[in-house]
Symmetry: C2
Subunit: 108 residues, 2 copies
């Protein structure tokens, strides 16, 4: 069952706390890497590597603007991922829970 194997692979992307949080944030709007670092309280390389995984499987897309790289969701054609993200807390809830409501849109 190749179909199941592929679903399992994609679901593996969602089964990490940091990545699932990133994807849930991206439901609302695009974020640049430095914002995610500030919100998630993990190192910049860790965030970067998670985003690379997500991008390599086509779940997010990137958009470079100036020195920043903005990431956004790319799940229009991935129903099982959408189905999960529909049930995930929204960005407001996440930011409040982490006391990170007040981000400077530009990092430093």
């Amino acid at each position: 069952m190749e179909q199941i194997r592929e679903m399992a692979d994609k679901l593996k992307l969602l089964s990490d706390n940091t990545r699932l949080t990133i994807l849930s944030l991206l439901k609302d709007r695009e974020f640049c890497v430095c914002e995610l670092v500030e919100i998630l309280e993990v190192s910049q390389p860790a965030v970067s590597q998670h985003l690379r995984k997500l991008k390599s499987q086509g779940v997010v897309k990137e958009s470079k603007r100036g020195q920043w790289v903005y990431y956004s969701l790319n799940v229009a054609d991935k129903p099982y991922i959408k189905a999960v993200l529909d049930l995930t807390p929204d960005s407001q809830t996440i930011l409040s829970a982490l006391n990170k409501q007040h981000l400077t849109s530009v990092c430093k």
Copy 2:
């Protein structure tokens, strides 16, 4: 975000090919361990260990009858798991693909 962490943990259960196949089969009816061994072509201990994980997180429940242990889904209260399993191939499709349509209901 404890809620996200818990979802990620549960999704980890679905992100393995063998477990996702087991859960997809269980959408149709309960299966005993020896049937799953026959279908999945992995060792009996491997199946048993997957089922233990699924049971320990409340995703399946077991029912011992005679020398057999039957497992069935227990996802009524787990919307994100249901959402994924709704999009998974059904047992007929899986069994056909694996050429395992003709199981003896009792194993040996």
